[in-house]
Each structure stands twice: as structure tokens, then as C-alpha cells.
């Protein structure tokens, strides 16, 4: 193949037609309460790990729900499971459970 000094950029759009939604569906079946997230961001604002890294729990689980799994496991691994987010979540989501679940479903060792 010929090299012209540039590549064809991959689209940035989340393509819900191509994404494999199986894992996302399984996660939501296991913890339907995750679907009630209203993206208030209080989890991320109070996050112990988020204070010293770019970890954004809300964003990562939203991406996972859209079938964008790449990097989610690594991101979730930044979490220290301290539980502050669970105390601040107005929807009562078991956030620590979500972290564990996403890691279990997306960890490569599985």
C-alpha cells in the first residue's frame, strides 16, 4: 500500500451501529440502576482519584453504556473504591459496584 504522508483518520463519532452492545447490555441487566444516572457529576467532583488524575467515573461509565469499551478498564482501575461517590450520588447508584462490574466485564484477563 502506498504511503502519502498521512493516514485516513478514524471517525470520532460513537457509532452505535458498529459498537458491540452485548457487554453494555449485560452490565445494565446486572445493575439497572446505572441507567438512572442523570449525569450530575457529583461522583466525579468528589472523587479521590479524580483529584489527582483525569479519572472521570461518570464519563467512563457513560461511554461503556454506549459500547465504547476501549480504555474503560484502565480508567476504572484508577478508582480506589473509597466510596465517596456512592455517598454523594443523588440517584443512589451503587457506584462501587459499577466500578467492580465494569472491570470484571472488560478486564482482558477474563
Amino acid at each position: 500500500m502506498v504511503q502519502f504522508g498521512y493516514n485516513i483518520s478514524q471517525p470520532r463519532a460513537i457509532n452505535m451501529d458498529k459498537n458491540d452492545m452485548m457487554i453494555s447490555q449485560k452490565i445494565l441487566r446486572t445493575m439497572p440502576e446505572l441507567q438512572t444516572c442523570i449525569a450530575c457529576g457529583s461522583c466525579t467532583a468528589t472523587c479521590t482519584a479524580g483529584a489527582i488524575t483525569s479519572f472521570n467515573f461518570r464519563k467512563v461509565h457513560t461511554l461503556v453504556r454506549r459500547g465504547e469499551y476501549k480504555g474503560a478498564y484502565e480508567e476504572m482501575n484508577k478508582c480506589m473504591l473509597c466510596g465517596k461517590c456512592r455517598l454523594s450520588c443523588p440517584r443512589g447508584i451503587n457506584t462501587r459496584g459499577v466500578v467492580m462490574l465494569i472491570k470484571q466485564e472488560l478486564g482482558e484477563y477474563r
Binding site: K78, M80, L81, C82, K84, L87, R96, K103
Partner: protein
């Protein structure tokens, strides 16, 4: 030599053989697989006094069931009658058989079917006496069986709200067990009647049987009765090592191993099997469980957890759904380390590779401030309860204490939540970071407001040279040293023991002493070792918010019933959980102290 064989003994003989083969196989296997250091502990322990202690404990616990007596005397009697009674039946029966049966070698099974093989049952003075003693013992055991039946139907009378829901194997063994002694009674009575025994129970019953049904009928009947007795014994013995009754024999080595200081640990190991199979599934752990009582979760209690783990069908749901409050552990009559076993079962579900985890923890994560030999670690949760921070500040100021604040502006988690979730290796990285931080700043005292942090600092941080104190201990010390004064007022307080502080770290008295210097203390019914959990425990990864809330409601209700003006606790997480449903003010101990600070 007399022939001590009859076909009917076969079921019994097979049963006993299977039983002891399996038990020996299991014990040897578990022991061989134990880590080197555990085996070394055992070998070193055997020639010590611990062995004698263990023998005594085996007698007290495995036979007399002393701990169950403490839970409920009737339940204790039931267990004693079954265990100790059966033991005596075997022991006295053996004496009886060896004294009265003819022949040089008397096979082991002969005493079991003594009355069948004895040519004449009330042989001599000893015979009559022993026969009556044996009848008495049988009656003793039968009273236990009757109680067991009664317990199945009316558990509340024996102090249990709920009994264990058993698996099929357990039900078979249980049914066999229920029939063993009635079958023995019937078989012995029939033979006694035919042989004209005069003992008070089997003799009289036998006489009545013969008189009522005729010698011919009872002769036929006795054959079936001995067969039946042998079969139920055989069934029970075969089922025993595969059912909950394995506990009868497992508890004995467990007592020895425990005496030799072998313990379970945050990672699963072979010794755990001794604990897991020592569970009798008595179900005493069900009632204290708040998940069952308040949240309607009925399949995760320690008895079910151990059962599932034993049969290798433990689900993540069960492993994760536990507050690890320790209420069941304090009550377990076998003394199984339930929290530790629950914890080390989680690793296989959470087995996340630890490599590269928390690489972001560098010196940049040090946001501490101040310089002092005294360090204060607020803890993540305390950062969500700024009143505690303010109160601690006021107390430090009043005591003239210079403080190094480890995490006032945000810190790194203590690592215990991660450990509780089964990520033991990863937790170690966080712990290392914090320990290095404490060392770097040269503190010699570390005060924390969070019992969760306290526990992990004490147990996993190996902070040699640094005294770790919960703020309740620290505050009490300040008062005793006269560094701060508190004024006694007219307020009444009730105190909630946080799980990690009370049962977890054994700190019950310090907070109470501090409170009693400030106002009157009204205790809740269930306090200290029996204190309720607030439901927010980080150890439970599965519980949902509504269930947490129901547990918190129940606790808040109990606390309100004391009529105290203020609820005091000593854990930020408990404070938030109780405040969710409390009708009166909820304060941390430090707040109460800060408000009562005098000049």
C-alpha cells in the same frame, strides 16, 4: 469365640468405613496443602500446653457446646444431649460390651448392636446397672432429638427467629439422624422384651411390646428393627462427610489448629477448609444479620456463604453481599473467622492484576500541610463531613497541639475499601504510598477520625514506631492529661458503636468515657459487641441504596427509642447513614467534644 456377625450390620459397617475414609482423606489433604508456615506453627505447637487446652476445649465445645448454651440454654441442651449423649452412649456402651460380651476380641461394632449380640442382657449386677445407665443415656439423647423436631416446627422457642434452609444432602442426613435413636429404642426394646430385660426404659417397653403383640410377632419385628437401625446409621455415616454433619469431626482439628495460632488470612488458603467445613449450619448467624432482618436479603448469610463456598458454588452476589459488620462472627458457636473467610473469597471475583495500578501515586499526590510529630488523617469520608474536621481543628487548637494534616486538602484512600473488595494486591500499593508519606513526614502519632482507616493502619500498615489512635482514644487522652477540659452539661446522648471501631478494633469504652464527661449516656439495647451496623459499610459491594436505607432506618429507630437528645457516633460513614433517617441530631464524638470545650 462368639460370632458377632449378622447380615444386618452391613449397612452400618459400610457407613463407618466410608465415613472414616473420607474424613481421613480430607484432613490429610487439607493439612498437606497448608502453607509451610502454617504447618510449622502446628508442629511447634503440639508439645506445648496448647494441646491440653485444645483437648479441654474439644470437650467443652464439641461435646458440651458451651457457647450455644450462652445463646440459649434450651438450644444448648439440645446440642449437648445429642453430642455428649451420643458420645456417652458410645463410651459407656463400649464398657458395657467389653464387660459383658464373651470372647477375647470383641469387634468395634458389637457395642452398637450390644443388645442383639448379648446372650443375656442383664448379666450380673454391673449388667443391670450399666443397662439402666444406657437406657438413661438413650433417653437423654432422645430428649435432644425431640427438641430438634420441636425446633424445626417452633424455632422461636429456642431463641431463633429463623433456621437454616438446608440442601438435599443435609435433609437426608438430618432425616437419618432423627431416626437413629428412635430406631435404636425400638430395636433394643424389642430384643430386651424377648430376652426379658428389666431395665427401666427398653426393658419395660420391650415387656409391654411382647405382652401386647405376642412373642412371635416381636421376634419377626426385631429383625426388621435392627436392619432399620443399621440402615439409618449407615445412611447417616455416608451422608455425614458430605453434609453439614462433617462439622462434628472438623471442629476437633480446627480447635487444635486454632490453639496453634493458625488463622485465615486475606488470601484464601487450605486452612480455610477446616473452618468452612466446621460450620454446622446451625443458623445462629441468620438472626443477627441485618441484611436478613431489615433488607429482606435471605440467601447471603454466613451459613449460606460457607455452604456455597464449601460446595464450590459460591456466586459473586453472595460473596459481595455482606456488610462484614461482624455481628454473626461474635455469635458463631464454632468461632469461625467469618469476616476473613468472606474477604478472602472475594479475591477470585475481583482478581484484577495489580501491575501498573496506581502508578499515578507519586510525590505529586502529597497534599499534606503542617509539620509535627502528631499526624491527623481525616479519611475520605471525613472530607464529606466537614463538621468533624472543624471539631478536630478546634480540639487540636484547644490542646495546643501542632498537627501535620495528611489529607485535609484531599488525600489518598487508606486502601481498606479496596482490600474489602478483594483487591488485596492493589490495596497494598495504596497502603505503601500512605505509609511512605507518614514516614517522610516523621510522625510518631497518627490520629484518624475514620474507623475504617484506623483498622487498616493498625493491621496492614506495619507502622512500627508510630502510635495509631482513633480520635476517641486521642481525645480521651487529652482529657485525662488535662490538655483539654470539657464541661458537663444536661444533654443526654446515645452512642452508636461503629462496626470497624467496636467489633473491628475493640474500642468500646473510650468514646463512652468521653461522652460521660459531657452528659448522660443512654445505651441502646444492642450495643458494644452486639451493636447494629449502619448499613453503609464499604464491605458490601452488592447492596442497593434502598436496602442500605432500610438498615439505616431500623438503626435510627433503635437510637431514637433511647430518648436521647443527640445520637453520637465516631465514624463519618455511620454519621451520614444515621442522619439520613434520624429524628434527632446526629453528631460525631469530636463535635460533641468541641462544643463542650471549656477554658
Amino acid at each position: 469365640m462368639m460370632n458377632y456377625y449378622d447380615h444386618f450390620i452391613l449397612p452400618f459397617a459400610i457407613g463407618v468405613t466410608v465415613l472414616f475414609t473420607v474424613i481421613l482423606y480430607k484432613w490429610i489433604r487439607w493439612f498437606v496443602r497448608m502453607p509451610q508456615e502454617d504447618r510449622r506453627l502446628v508442629l511447634r505447637g503440639i508439645p506445648t500446653r496448647q494441646t491440653l487446652g485444645a483437648i479441654g476445649e474439644v470437650f467443652m465445645e464439641s461435646l458440651l457446646h458451651r457457647r450455644i448454651w450462652r445463646v440459649n440454654p434450651l438450644l444448648g441442651y439440645m446440642h449437648t444431649s445429642l453430642a455428649f449423649g451420643w458420645f456417652l452412649l458410645i463410651a459407656v456402651g463400649w464398657v458395657e460390651a467389653s464387660l459383658q460380651l464373651p470372647g477375647e476380641i470383641i469387634p468395634l461394632h458389637a457395642h452398637v448392636f450390644f443388645k442383639f449380640f448379648a446372650p443375656e442382657v442383664d448379666y450380673g449386677i454391673t449388667g443391670g446397672l450399666l443397662g439402666n445407665i444406657m437406657d438413661l443415656l438413650l433417653l437423654f439423647v432422645l430428649s435432644g432429638v425431640a427438641l430438634a423436631w420441636f425446633k424445626r416446627m417452633r424455632s422461636k422457642a429456642l431463641g431463633m427467629q429463623r433456621t437454616t434452609k438446608h440442601v438435599l444432602g443435609d435433609r437426608i442426613a438430618l432425616a437419618a439422624l432423627w431416626f437413629i435413636f428412635p430406631a435404636r429404642l425400638v430395636a433394643e426394646s424389642a430384643t430386651s422384651g424377648l430376652k426379658h430385660s428389666t431395665t427401666f426404659l427398653t426393658g419395660n417397653l420391650g415387656e409391654w411390646m411382647v405382652n401386647t403383640f405376642g412373642t412371635e410377632a416381636i421376634m419377626h419385628f426385631s429383625v426388621y428393627a435392627w436392619w432399620f437401625y443399621s440402615i439409618v446409621l449407615g445412611i447417616f455415616f455416608v451422608a455425614m462427610p458430605f453434609s453439614r454433619y462433617m462439622h462434628i469431626f472438623t471442629e476437633i482439628p480446627l480447635i487444635f489448629l486454632r490453639r496453634y495460632k493458625v488463622h485465615s488470612y486475606e488470601k484464601a488458603k487450605s486452612f480455610d477448609r477446616f473452618q468452612i467445613e466446621a460450620c454446622s449450619r446451625c443458623g445462629i448467624c441468620i438472626d443477627p444479620c441485618q441484611l436478613q432482618k431489615d433488607a429482606g436479603i435471605t440467601n447471603v448469610q454466613s451459613v449460606y456463604f460457607l455452604r456455597d463456598r464449601r460446595y464450590n458454588r459460591l456466586t459473586q452476589e453472595v460473596a459481595y453481599n455482606c456488610l462484614m459488620c461482624g455481628r454473626c462472627e461474635t455469635r458463631c458457636p464454632v468461632g469461625i473467622e467469618l469476616n476473613t473467610l468472606r474477604l478472602n473469597s472475594r479475591e477470585k471475583f475481583a482478581a484484577m492484576p495489580a501491575d501498573n495500578r496506581y502508578a499515578y501515586l507519586s510525590s505529586a499526590a502529597d497534599r499534606s500541610s503542617g509539620t509535627s510529630k502528631v499526624g491527623y488523617f481525616a479519611g475520605c469520608m471525613t472530607l464529606l463531613t466537614p463538621k468533624i474536621l472543624r471539631a478536630m481543628d478546634a480540639i487540636f487548637k484547644a490542646a495546643g497541639e501542632e498537627v501535620w494534616y495528611a489529607d485535609k486538602d484531599g488525600g489518598v484512600c487508606c486502601g481498606r475499601p479496596l482490600k474489602l473488595s478483594g483487591e488485596v494486591e492493589a490495596a497494598r500499593r495504596i497502603m505503601d504510598f500512605n505509609r511512605d508519606l507518614f514516614r517522610k513526614h516523621g510522625i510518631t502519632t497518627l490520629v484518624t477520625s475514620c474507623p475504617i482507616c484506623l483498622k487498616v493502619f493498625r493491621e496492614d500498615y506495619h507502622l512500627k514506631g508510630i502510635e495509631v489512635l482513633h480520635h476517641s482514644q486521642y481525645i480521651l487522652r487529652l482529657i485525662q492529661q488535662g490538655r483539654i477540659c470539657v464541661e458537663h452539661g444536661h444533654n443526654s446522648f446515645t452512642y452508636h458503636d461503629p462496626c470497624e471501631l467496636g467489633r473491628g478494633s475493640g474500642i468500646y469504652e473510650e468514646p463512652r468515657e468521653v461522652i460521660s464527661q459531657i452528659g448522660s449516656l443512654l445505651e441502646v439495647d444492642e450495643n458494644r459487641e452486639n451493636a447494629l451496623c449502619c448499613g453503609s459499610s464499604l464491605a458490601n459491594i452488592a447492596i442497593n441504596d434502598a436496602q442500605q436505607n432500610r438498615i439505616s432506618q431500623a438503626l435510627a429507630h433503635e437510637l431514637a427509642d433511647t430518648g436521647a437528645d443527640t445520637v453520637v457516633t465516631a465514624c463519618p460513614l455511620c454519621k451520614k447513614a444515621i442522619a439520613r433517617n434520624a429524628s434527632q441530631e446526629v453528631k460525631d464524638l469530636s463535635e460533641v467534644v468541641a462544643e463542650a470545650l471549656g477554658q
